[in-house]
Protein backbone atom coordinates (compact mmCIF):
# COMPACT_ATOMS: atom_id res chain seq x y z
CA UNK A 1 0.00 0.00 0.00
CA UNK A 2 1.42 3.34 -0.98
CA UNK A 3 0.28 5.38 1.98
CA UNK A 4 1.60 8.76 0.86
CA UNK A 5 0.12 8.44 -2.61
CA UNK A 6 -3.27 7.44 -1.21
CA UNK A 7 -3.25 10.28 1.31
CA UNK A 8 -2.40 12.80 -1.37
CA UNK A 9 -5.11 11.47 -3.69
CA UNK A 10 -7.66 11.62 -0.88
CA UNK A 11 -6.68 15.13 0.05
CA UNK A 12 -6.89 16.35 -3.56
CA UNK A 13 -10.33 14.81 -3.92
CA UNK A 14 -11.49 16.50 -0.72
CA UNK A 15 -10.13 19.85 -1.96
CA UNK A 16 -11.98 19.39 -5.23
CA UNK A 17 -15.29 18.66 -3.53
CA UNK A 18 -14.81 21.80 -1.45
CA UNK A 19 -14.14 23.72 -4.63
CA UNK A 20 -17.45 22.33 -5.90
CA UNK A 21 -19.22 23.68 -2.79
CA UNK A 22 -17.68 27.10 -3.39
CA UNK A 23 -18.95 27.05 -6.98
CA UNK A 24 -22.45 26.16 -5.76
CA UNK A 25 -22.37 29.10 -3.31
CA UNK A 26 -21.15 31.38 -6.08
CA UNK A 27 -23.93 30.26 -8.42
CA UNK A 28 -26.60 30.67 -5.73
CA UNK A 29 -25.27 34.16 -4.95
CA UNK A 30 -25.26 35.15 -8.64
CA UNK A 31 -28.86 33.92 -9.12
CA UNK A 32 -30.09 35.76 -5.98
CA UNK A 33 -28.33 38.96 -7.01
CA UNK A 34 -29.90 38.73 -10.45
CA UNK A 35 -33.38 38.09 -9.09
CA UNK A 36 -33.20 40.91 -6.55
CA UNK A 37 -31.19 43.25 -8.78
CA UNK A 38 -28.79 43.40 -5.84
CA UNK A 39 -25.55 45.11 -6.95
CA UNK A 40 -23.96 44.68 -3.53
CA UNK A 41 -24.47 40.94 -3.54
CA UNK A 42 -23.17 40.88 -7.14
CA UNK A 43 -19.97 42.53 -5.88
CA UNK A 44 -19.64 39.86 -3.22
CA UNK A 45 -19.97 37.15 -5.85
CA UNK A 46 -17.23 38.80 -7.93
CA UNK A 47 -14.93 39.03 -4.93
CA UNK A 48 -15.72 35.47 -3.84
CA UNK A 49 -14.19 34.19 -7.09
CA UNK A 50 -10.74 34.68 -5.54
CA UNK A 51 -11.62 31.86 -3.12
CA UNK A 52 -12.40 29.52 -6.00
CA UNK A 53 -9.23 30.54 -7.83
CA UNK A 54 -7.11 29.88 -4.75
CA UNK A 55 -8.60 26.41 -4.43
CA UNK A 56 -8.15 25.83 -8.16
CA UNK A 57 -4.45 26.74 -8.02
CA UNK A 58 -3.82 24.64 -4.92
CA UNK A 59 -5.30 21.56 -6.64
CA UNK A 60 -3.36 22.27 -9.83
CA UNK A 61 -0.11 22.50 -7.87
CA UNK A 62 -1.00 19.43 -5.80
CA UNK A 63 -1.47 17.43 -9.00
CA UNK A 64 1.84 18.68 -10.37
CA UNK A 65 3.72 17.61 -7.24
CA UNK A 66 1.93 14.28 -7.09
CA UNK A 67 2.79 13.50 -10.72
CA UNK A 68 6.41 14.45 -10.17
CA UNK A 69 6.92 12.58 -6.93
CA UNK A 70 4.53 9.63 -6.96
CA UNK A 71 4.32 8.75 -10.70
CA UNK A 72 0.84 7.28 -10.40
CA UNK A 73 -0.26 4.65 -12.91
CA UNK A 74 -3.48 2.88 -13.96
CA UNK A 75 -6.54 3.95 -11.94
CA UNK A 76 -4.46 6.40 -9.89
CA UNK A 77 -3.20 8.07 -13.06
CA UNK A 78 -6.73 8.27 -14.45
CA UNK A 79 -7.94 9.81 -11.18
CA UNK A 80 -5.23 12.46 -11.30
CA UNK A 81 -5.92 13.28 -14.95
CA UNK A 82 -9.68 13.41 -14.31
CA UNK A 83 -9.15 15.74 -11.36
CA UNK A 84 -7.01 18.01 -13.50
CA UNK A 85 -9.94 18.39 -15.92
CA UNK A 86 -12.68 18.58 -13.30
CA UNK A 87 -10.74 21.27 -11.45
CA UNK A 88 -10.67 23.37 -14.60
CA UNK A 89 -14.36 22.82 -15.30
CA UNK A 90 -15.28 23.96 -11.79
CA UNK A 91 -13.13 27.04 -12.06
CA UNK A 92 -14.78 27.95 -15.38
CA UNK A 93 -18.22 27.58 -13.82
CA UNK A 94 -17.24 30.07 -11.14
CA UNK A 95 -16.05 32.45 -13.86
CA UNK A 96 -19.49 32.29 -15.46
CA UNK A 97 -21.00 33.22 -12.09
CA UNK A 98 -18.75 36.30 -12.07
CA UNK A 99 -19.95 37.23 -15.56
CA UNK A 100 -23.57 36.90 -14.41
CA UNK A 101 -22.79 39.11 -11.40
CA UNK A 102 -21.16 41.76 -13.59
CA UNK A 103 -24.15 41.77 -15.96
CA UNK A 104 -26.47 42.02 -12.94
CA UNK A 105 -24.73 45.24 -11.94
CA UNK A 106 -25.08 46.61 -15.48
CA UNK A 107 -28.83 46.00 -15.58
CA UNK A 108 -29.56 46.76 -11.92
CA UNK A 109 -31.62 49.86 -12.73
CA UNK A 110 -33.71 48.06 -15.33
CA UNK A 111 -37.08 46.68 -14.31
CA UNK A 112 -36.81 42.93 -14.02
CA UNK A 113 -39.14 40.80 -16.08
CA UNK A 114 -40.86 38.02 -14.13
CA UNK A 115 -40.83 35.64 -17.12
CA UNK A 116 -37.13 36.07 -17.66
CA UNK A 117 -36.30 35.82 -13.96
CA UNK A 118 -38.28 32.61 -13.74
CA UNK A 119 -36.42 31.12 -16.71
CA UNK A 120 -33.06 31.97 -15.09
CA UNK A 121 -34.16 30.59 -11.75
CA UNK A 122 -35.13 27.37 -13.49
CA UNK A 123 -31.84 27.18 -15.40
CA UNK A 124 -29.85 28.03 -12.28
CA UNK A 125 -31.59 25.37 -10.16
CA UNK A 126 -30.91 22.84 -12.91
CA UNK A 127 -27.30 23.96 -12.97
CA UNK A 128 -27.01 23.49 -9.21
CA UNK A 129 -28.55 20.05 -9.47
CA UNK A 130 -26.17 19.12 -12.28
CA UNK A 131 -23.10 20.20 -10.30
CA UNK A 132 -24.28 18.07 -7.37
CA UNK A 133 -25.02 15.08 -9.60
CA UNK A 134 -21.63 15.42 -11.32
CA UNK A 135 -19.73 15.55 -8.02
CA UNK A 136 -21.78 12.75 -6.45
CA UNK A 137 -21.13 10.59 -9.51
CA UNK A 138 -17.42 11.38 -9.11
CA UNK A 139 -17.41 10.41 -5.43
CA UNK A 140 -19.34 7.19 -6.09
CA UNK A 141 -17.56 6.43 -9.40
CA UNK A 142 -21.08 6.10 -10.83
CA UNK A 143 -21.07 6.14 -14.64
CA UNK A 144 -24.84 5.80 -14.89
CA UNK A 145 -25.47 8.93 -12.81
CA UNK A 146 -22.75 10.72 -14.73
CA UNK A 147 -24.41 9.95 -18.05
CA UNK A 148 -27.80 11.12 -16.72
CA UNK A 149 -26.33 14.63 -16.87
CA UNK A 150 -26.99 14.71 -20.61
CA UNK A 151 -30.77 14.67 -20.05
CA UNK A 152 -30.57 17.31 -17.33
CA UNK A 153 -28.53 19.48 -19.67
CA UNK A 154 -31.19 19.22 -22.35
CA UNK A 155 -33.62 20.99 -20.01
CA UNK A 156 -31.20 23.91 -19.55
CA UNK A 157 -30.65 24.10 -23.29
CA UNK A 158 -34.40 24.33 -23.85
CA UNK A 159 -34.76 27.14 -21.30
CA UNK A 160 -31.88 28.92 -23.01
CA UNK A 161 -33.69 28.78 -26.33
CA UNK A 162 -36.83 30.20 -24.64
CA UNK A 163 -34.83 33.17 -23.37
CA UNK A 164 -33.48 33.87 -26.84
CA UNK A 165 -36.99 33.78 -28.32
CA UNK A 166 -38.25 36.08 -25.58
CA UNK A 167 -35.51 38.62 -26.32
CA UNK A 168 -36.24 38.50 -30.04
CA UNK A 169 -39.89 39.31 -29.23
CA UNK A 170 -38.90 42.51 -27.39
CA UNK A 171 -39.02 44.56 -30.57
CA UNK A 172 -36.83 47.37 -31.98
CA UNK A 173 -36.43 49.60 -28.88
CA UNK A 174 -32.59 50.06 -28.57
CA UNK A 175 -32.65 50.27 -24.75
CA UNK A 176 -34.64 47.07 -24.53
CA UNK A 177 -32.40 45.39 -27.08
CA UNK A 178 -29.31 46.20 -25.03
CA UNK A 179 -30.93 44.78 -21.93
CA UNK A 180 -32.08 41.77 -23.94
CA UNK A 181 -28.58 41.11 -25.26
CA UNK A 182 -27.23 41.12 -21.72
CA UNK A 183 -29.91 38.68 -20.69
CA UNK A 184 -28.89 36.41 -23.56
CA UNK A 185 -25.34 36.44 -22.20
CA UNK A 186 -26.63 35.56 -18.71
CA UNK A 187 -28.61 32.73 -20.23
CA UNK A 188 -25.58 31.56 -22.18
CA UNK A 189 -23.50 31.53 -18.97
CA UNK A 190 -26.04 29.29 -17.23
CA UNK A 191 -26.20 27.07 -20.27
CA UNK A 192 -22.39 26.74 -20.28
CA UNK A 193 -22.39 25.82 -16.59
CA UNK A 194 -24.59 22.87 -17.55
CA UNK A 195 -22.17 21.92 -20.34
CA UNK A 196 -19.24 21.91 -17.90
CA UNK A 197 -21.21 19.65 -15.55
CA UNK A 198 -21.68 17.20 -18.45
CA UNK A 199 -17.93 17.42 -19.12
CA UNK A 200 -17.28 16.48 -15.47
CA UNK A 201 -19.60 13.50 -16.00
CA UNK A 202 -17.48 12.46 -18.99
CA UNK A 203 -14.38 12.57 -16.81
CA UNK A 204 -16.11 10.32 -14.27
CA UNK A 205 -16.86 7.81 -17.04
CA UNK A 206 -13.21 7.98 -18.17
CA UNK A 207 -12.02 7.45 -14.61
CA UNK A 208 -14.14 4.32 -14.26
CA UNK A 209 -13.89 2.78 -17.72
CA UNK A 210 -10.46 3.99 -18.84
CA UNK A 211 -11.90 5.19 -22.12
CA UNK A 212 -12.74 8.79 -22.88
CA UNK A 213 -15.93 9.29 -24.82
CA UNK A 214 -18.08 12.37 -25.23
CA UNK A 215 -21.63 11.77 -24.03
CA UNK A 216 -22.85 14.00 -26.82
CA UNK A 217 -21.04 15.15 -29.88
CA UNK A 218 -21.81 18.75 -30.80
CA UNK A 219 -20.92 18.15 -34.45
CA UNK A 220 -23.06 14.98 -34.74
CA UNK A 221 -26.26 15.84 -32.92
CA UNK A 222 -27.01 13.37 -30.11
CA UNK A 223 -25.77 10.37 -32.08
CA UNK A 224 -23.23 9.37 -29.50
CA UNK A 225 -25.35 10.06 -26.45
CA UNK A 226 -25.83 7.18 -24.08
Amino acid sequence: MRVTLQEELDSLQADMLEEGDLVLRSLRGALNALRESDAELADEVIEFDDEVDRRYLAIEQGVEVLLARQTPVAVDLRLVLAMLHINLHLERMADYCVTIAKLTKLVADHDSEPGMIQAFEEMGSRGEEMIKVALDAFVDRDVERASSLVDLDELIDRANRRVVRHVLDLGPDPALSEWGLRMIVVSRCLERIGDHAVDIGEQVAYLVTGEFREFTDASHERQSSQ
Binding site: M1, R2, L5, T71, P72, V73, A74, V75, D76, L77, R78, G210, E211
Partner: protein, 284 residues
Amino acid sequence: MPTDTMTTVMPIEIAQRSERTRLPTKLEPVFEISALSVSYGSTPAIREVTFDIGRNMVTAIIGPSGCGKSTFIRVLNRMNDLVPSARVSGKVLYHGEDLYRPRVDPVQVRRRIGMVFQKPNPFPKSIFDNVAWGLRVLGMKDDLKGRVERALEQAALWDDVKDRLKKSALGLSGGQQQRLCIARALAVEPDVLLMDEPASALDPIATSRIEDLMHELKQNYTIVVVTHNMQQAARVADMTAFFGIEVLPDKSRTGVLVEYDETQKIFTQPSDERTEGYVTGRFG
Protein backbone atom coordinates in the same frame (compact mmCIF):
# COMPACT_ATOMS: atom_id res chain seq x y z
CA MET B 1 -10.87 -22.15 1.70
CA PRO B 2 -9.67 -24.67 -0.83
CA THR B 3 -12.66 -24.39 -3.13
CA ASP B 4 -12.41 -20.61 -3.25
CA THR B 5 -8.75 -20.85 -4.10
CA MET B 6 -9.51 -23.16 -6.95
CA THR B 7 -12.18 -20.90 -8.35
CA THR B 8 -9.77 -17.99 -8.31
CA VAL B 9 -7.14 -20.11 -10.00
CA MET B 10 -9.29 -21.41 -12.80
CA PRO B 11 -10.36 -18.18 -14.52
CA ILE B 12 -6.76 -17.12 -15.01
CA GLU B 13 -6.10 -19.92 -17.41
CA ILE B 14 -9.13 -19.02 -19.42
CA ALA B 15 -8.12 -15.36 -19.37
CA GLN B 16 -4.61 -16.26 -20.46
CA ARG B 17 -5.76 -18.17 -23.47
CA SER B 18 -8.08 -15.44 -24.62
CA GLU B 19 -5.23 -12.93 -24.22
CA ARG B 20 -3.46 -14.44 -27.18
CA THR B 21 -6.11 -13.34 -29.59
CA ARG B 22 -6.03 -9.77 -28.31
CA LEU B 23 -2.35 -9.12 -28.96
CA PRO B 24 -1.24 -6.64 -31.57
CA THR B 25 -1.32 -8.19 -35.02
CA LYS B 26 2.22 -6.94 -35.61
CA LEU B 27 3.49 -9.37 -32.98
CA GLU B 28 5.54 -11.97 -34.80
CA PRO B 29 6.28 -14.68 -32.26
CA VAL B 30 9.84 -15.70 -31.47
CA PHE B 31 8.69 -17.78 -28.50
CA GLU B 32 5.34 -19.51 -28.26
CA ILE B 33 4.93 -20.71 -24.70
CA SER B 34 2.10 -23.11 -23.90
CA ALA B 35 1.06 -24.47 -20.50
CA LEU B 36 4.61 -24.10 -19.21
CA SER B 37 5.13 -25.33 -15.66
CA VAL B 38 8.41 -25.55 -13.77
CA SER B 39 9.10 -27.09 -10.38
CA TYR B 40 12.20 -27.57 -8.28
CA GLY B 41 11.83 -31.01 -6.76
CA SER B 42 8.31 -31.05 -5.35
CA THR B 43 8.15 -27.25 -5.09
CA PRO B 44 6.23 -25.65 -7.95
CA ALA B 45 7.78 -22.43 -9.28
CA ILE B 46 5.52 -21.48 -12.18
CA ARG B 47 2.35 -23.08 -13.40
CA GLU B 48 0.58 -23.24 -16.75
CA VAL B 49 2.08 -20.15 -18.34
CA THR B 50 0.89 -19.47 -21.88
CA PHE B 51 1.84 -16.52 -24.05
CA ASP B 52 3.84 -15.46 -27.11
CA ILE B 53 6.91 -13.23 -27.12
CA GLY B 54 7.22 -10.99 -30.16
CA ARG B 55 10.22 -10.41 -32.36
CA ASN B 56 12.16 -7.12 -32.19
CA MET B 57 10.30 -6.11 -29.11
CA VAL B 58 11.26 -5.52 -25.52
CA THR B 59 9.08 -7.74 -23.36
CA ALA B 60 9.17 -7.02 -19.63
CA ILE B 61 8.38 -9.62 -17.00
CA ILE B 62 7.21 -7.98 -13.78
CA GLY B 63 5.82 -9.32 -10.53
CA PRO B 64 6.50 -9.67 -6.82
CA SER B 65 9.41 -11.66 -5.39
CA GLY B 66 8.78 -15.37 -5.68
CA CYS B 67 6.45 -15.14 -8.67
CA GLY B 68 8.84 -17.11 -10.86
CA LYS B 69 10.06 -14.30 -13.13
CA SER B 70 13.68 -15.47 -13.12
CA THR B 71 12.66 -19.11 -13.38
CA PHE B 72 10.62 -18.16 -16.41
CA ILE B 73 13.39 -16.48 -18.40
CA ARG B 74 15.84 -19.21 -17.46
CA VAL B 75 13.49 -21.63 -19.22
CA LEU B 76 13.84 -19.65 -22.42
CA ASN B 77 17.53 -20.56 -22.88
CA ARG B 78 17.49 -23.83 -20.96
CA MET B 79 19.49 -22.45 -18.05
CA ASN B 80 17.31 -24.55 -15.74
CA ASP B 81 19.01 -27.62 -17.23
CA LEU B 82 21.89 -26.70 -14.93
CA VAL B 83 19.65 -27.15 -11.87
CA PRO B 84 19.35 -30.93 -11.34
CA SER B 85 16.01 -30.80 -9.49
CA ALA B 86 14.32 -28.55 -12.08
CA ARG B 87 11.41 -30.14 -13.97
CA VAL B 88 9.96 -28.40 -16.99
CA SER B 89 6.65 -29.35 -18.59
CA GLY B 90 4.55 -27.76 -21.28
CA LYS B 91 5.87 -26.41 -24.56
CA VAL B 92 8.32 -23.69 -25.48
CA LEU B 93 8.53 -23.16 -29.21
CA TYR B 94 11.42 -21.03 -30.47
CA HIS B 95 10.82 -19.97 -34.07
CA GLY B 96 8.37 -22.85 -34.20
CA GLU B 97 10.85 -25.45 -32.89
CA ASP B 98 10.39 -27.18 -29.55
CA LEU B 99 13.28 -26.01 -27.36
CA TYR B 100 13.00 -29.03 -25.10
CA ARG B 101 13.19 -31.79 -27.68
CA PRO B 102 15.93 -34.29 -26.78
CA ARG B 103 18.12 -33.60 -29.77
CA VAL B 104 18.27 -29.85 -29.21
CA ASP B 105 21.77 -28.85 -28.02
CA PRO B 106 21.51 -26.50 -25.00
CA VAL B 107 24.86 -24.91 -25.87
CA GLN B 108 23.58 -23.92 -29.31
CA VAL B 109 20.39 -22.64 -27.67
CA ARG B 110 22.41 -20.39 -25.35
CA ARG B 111 24.39 -19.07 -28.29
CA ARG B 112 21.19 -17.94 -30.02
CA ILE B 113 19.54 -16.84 -26.80
CA GLY B 114 22.01 -14.89 -24.67
CA MET B 115 21.65 -13.89 -21.05
CA VAL B 116 22.71 -10.86 -19.03
CA PHE B 117 22.51 -11.14 -15.25
CA GLN B 118 21.69 -8.78 -12.41
CA LYS B 119 25.22 -8.37 -11.21
CA PRO B 120 27.85 -7.66 -13.88
CA ASN B 121 30.07 -10.73 -13.95
CA PRO B 122 33.10 -10.02 -16.16
CA PHE B 123 35.90 -12.58 -16.12
CA PRO B 124 39.13 -11.47 -14.45
CA LYS B 125 40.66 -11.02 -17.88
CA SER B 126 41.19 -8.17 -20.30
CA ILE B 127 38.26 -6.29 -21.81
CA PHE B 128 39.09 -7.79 -25.22
CA ASP B 129 39.30 -11.35 -23.90
CA ASN B 130 35.97 -11.01 -22.12
CA VAL B 131 34.22 -10.26 -25.40
CA ALA B 132 36.32 -12.71 -27.42
CA TRP B 133 35.79 -15.56 -24.97
CA GLY B 134 32.50 -16.84 -26.37
CA LEU B 135 33.76 -16.42 -29.93
CA ARG B 136 36.80 -18.60 -29.19
CA VAL B 137 34.72 -21.25 -27.40
CA LEU B 138 32.33 -21.44 -30.33
CA GLY B 139 35.12 -21.42 -32.93
CA MET B 140 34.00 -18.05 -34.38
CA LYS B 141 37.62 -16.96 -34.74
CA ASP B 142 37.60 -15.32 -38.16
CA ASP B 143 37.85 -11.53 -37.89
CA LEU B 144 38.03 -11.79 -34.10
CA LYS B 145 39.05 -8.12 -33.71
CA GLY B 146 36.22 -6.92 -35.93
CA ARG B 147 33.67 -9.01 -34.09
CA VAL B 148 34.85 -7.74 -30.70
CA GLU B 149 34.78 -4.14 -31.89
CA ARG B 150 31.28 -4.47 -33.36
CA ALA B 151 29.97 -6.06 -30.15
CA LEU B 152 31.48 -3.28 -28.04
CA GLU B 153 30.01 -0.68 -30.38
CA GLN B 154 26.55 -2.25 -30.17
CA ALA B 155 26.82 -2.24 -26.40
CA ALA B 156 27.71 1.50 -26.51
CA LEU B 157 31.04 0.79 -24.83
CA TRP B 158 33.55 1.09 -27.69
CA ASP B 159 34.35 4.77 -27.18
CA ASP B 160 34.93 4.19 -23.45
CA VAL B 161 37.33 1.28 -23.87
CA LYS B 162 38.91 1.38 -27.35
CA ASP B 163 42.22 2.65 -25.92
CA ARG B 164 42.45 0.10 -23.13
CA LEU B 165 41.27 -3.20 -24.60
CA LYS B 166 44.16 -5.04 -22.99
CA LYS B 167 43.39 -3.69 -19.53
CA SER B 168 41.51 -5.76 -16.97
CA ALA B 169 37.73 -5.69 -17.24
CA LEU B 170 37.57 -5.44 -13.45
CA GLY B 171 38.84 -1.85 -13.69
CA LEU B 172 35.62 -0.72 -15.39
CA SER B 173 32.76 0.95 -13.51
CA GLY B 174 29.66 -1.11 -12.65
CA GLY B 175 27.69 0.34 -15.56
CA GLN B 176 30.58 -0.26 -17.97
CA GLN B 177 30.97 -3.82 -16.68
CA GLN B 178 27.29 -4.47 -17.36
CA ARG B 179 27.63 -3.10 -20.90
CA LEU B 180 30.69 -5.33 -21.30
CA CYS B 181 28.54 -8.32 -20.33
CA ILE B 182 26.00 -7.20 -22.92
CA ALA B 183 28.82 -6.94 -25.50
CA ARG B 184 29.96 -10.44 -24.52
CA ALA B 185 26.44 -11.74 -25.10
CA LEU B 186 26.11 -9.88 -28.42
CA ALA B 187 29.50 -10.99 -29.77
CA VAL B 188 28.28 -14.50 -30.59
CA GLU B 189 25.49 -13.03 -32.74
CA PRO B 190 22.46 -14.13 -30.78
CA ASP B 191 18.88 -13.64 -31.81
CA VAL B 192 17.42 -13.06 -28.35
CA LEU B 193 18.83 -11.27 -25.32
CA LEU B 194 17.46 -12.28 -21.93
CA MET B 195 18.14 -9.77 -19.16
CA ASP B 196 17.55 -10.61 -15.52
CA GLU B 197 17.36 -7.36 -13.54
CA PRO B 198 20.15 -5.90 -15.71
CA ALA B 199 20.16 -2.47 -14.07
CA SER B 200 19.24 -3.16 -10.47
CA ALA B 201 22.86 -2.92 -9.29
CA LEU B 202 23.52 0.29 -11.25
CA ASP B 203 23.17 3.99 -10.47
CA PRO B 204 20.47 6.03 -12.28
CA ILE B 205 22.78 7.29 -15.04
CA ALA B 206 24.16 3.83 -15.81
CA THR B 207 20.58 2.51 -15.65
CA SER B 208 19.41 5.03 -18.17
CA ARG B 209 22.27 4.05 -20.52
CA ILE B 210 21.23 0.39 -20.30
CA GLU B 211 17.62 1.38 -21.00
CA ASP B 212 18.67 3.46 -24.03
CA LEU B 213 20.69 0.49 -25.17
CA MET B 214 17.70 -1.85 -24.94
CA HIS B 215 15.77 0.59 -27.07
CA GLU B 216 18.49 0.56 -29.75
CA LEU B 217 19.14 -3.17 -29.60
CA LYS B 218 15.54 -4.15 -30.19
CA GLN B 219 15.94 -3.06 -33.83
CA ASN B 220 18.09 -6.18 -34.29
CA TYR B 221 17.31 -8.39 -31.32
CA THR B 222 14.39 -9.66 -29.32
CA ILE B 223 14.76 -8.65 -25.69
CA VAL B 224 13.12 -10.19 -22.65
CA VAL B 225 13.82 -8.32 -19.43
CA VAL B 226 12.93 -9.26 -15.87
CA THR B 227 12.65 -6.19 -13.69
CA HIS B 228 11.57 -5.24 -10.21
CA ASN B 229 11.48 -1.65 -11.30
CA MET B 230 8.04 -1.02 -12.71
CA GLN B 231 8.91 2.39 -14.05
CA GLN B 232 11.71 0.72 -15.98
CA ALA B 233 9.20 -1.70 -17.52
CA ALA B 234 6.93 1.25 -18.31
CA ARG B 235 9.81 3.10 -19.97
CA VAL B 236 11.46 0.36 -22.03
CA ALA B 237 9.00 -2.44 -22.74
CA ASP B 238 6.65 -2.81 -25.69
CA MET B 239 4.84 -5.70 -24.04
CA THR B 240 4.58 -6.48 -20.35
CA ALA B 241 3.75 -9.76 -18.65
CA PHE B 242 2.64 -9.57 -15.03
CA PHE B 243 3.30 -12.70 -12.99
CA GLY B 244 1.51 -13.14 -9.68
CA ILE B 245 1.56 -15.71 -6.91
CA GLU B 246 -1.25 -18.22 -6.43
CA VAL B 247 -1.65 -20.09 -3.17
CA LEU B 248 -2.92 -23.58 -3.89
CA PRO B 249 -5.18 -25.62 -1.55
CA ASP B 250 -2.13 -27.43 -0.11
CA LYS B 251 -0.70 -23.99 0.80
CA SER B 252 2.06 -24.22 -1.78
CA ARG B 253 2.79 -20.99 -3.64
CA THR B 254 3.36 -20.89 -7.35
CA GLY B 255 3.89 -18.22 -9.98
CA VAL B 256 1.21 -17.71 -12.63
CA LEU B 257 0.84 -15.32 -15.53
CA VAL B 258 -1.92 -12.93 -14.51
CA GLU B 259 -1.92 -10.55 -17.43
CA TYR B 260 0.00 -10.00 -20.63
CA ASP B 261 -0.61 -6.97 -22.78
CA GLU B 262 0.88 -3.91 -24.40
CA THR B 263 2.85 -1.99 -21.77
CA GLN B 264 0.74 1.10 -22.28
CA LYS B 265 -2.38 -0.89 -21.43
CA ILE B 266 -0.81 -2.48 -18.36
CA PHE B 267 0.14 0.92 -16.94
CA THR B 268 -2.99 2.87 -17.83
CA GLN B 269 -5.83 0.40 -17.86
CA PRO B 270 -4.89 -3.09 -16.72
CA SER B 271 -7.64 -5.69 -17.14
CA ASP B 272 -6.99 -7.68 -14.00
CA GLU B 273 -7.39 -6.15 -10.57
CA ARG B 274 -4.30 -8.00 -9.33
CA THR B 275 -2.23 -6.26 -12.00
CA GLU B 276 -3.82 -2.97 -11.02
CA GLY B 277 -2.99 -3.67 -7.38
CA TYR B 278 0.63 -4.44 -8.21
CA VAL B 279 1.40 -1.59 -10.61
CA THR B 280 -0.26 0.97 -8.35
CA GLY B 281 1.74 -0.38 -5.42
CA ARG B 282 -1.24 -1.58 -3.39
CA PHE B 283 -0.09 -5.17 -3.17
CA GLY B 284 2.97 -7.33 -3.64
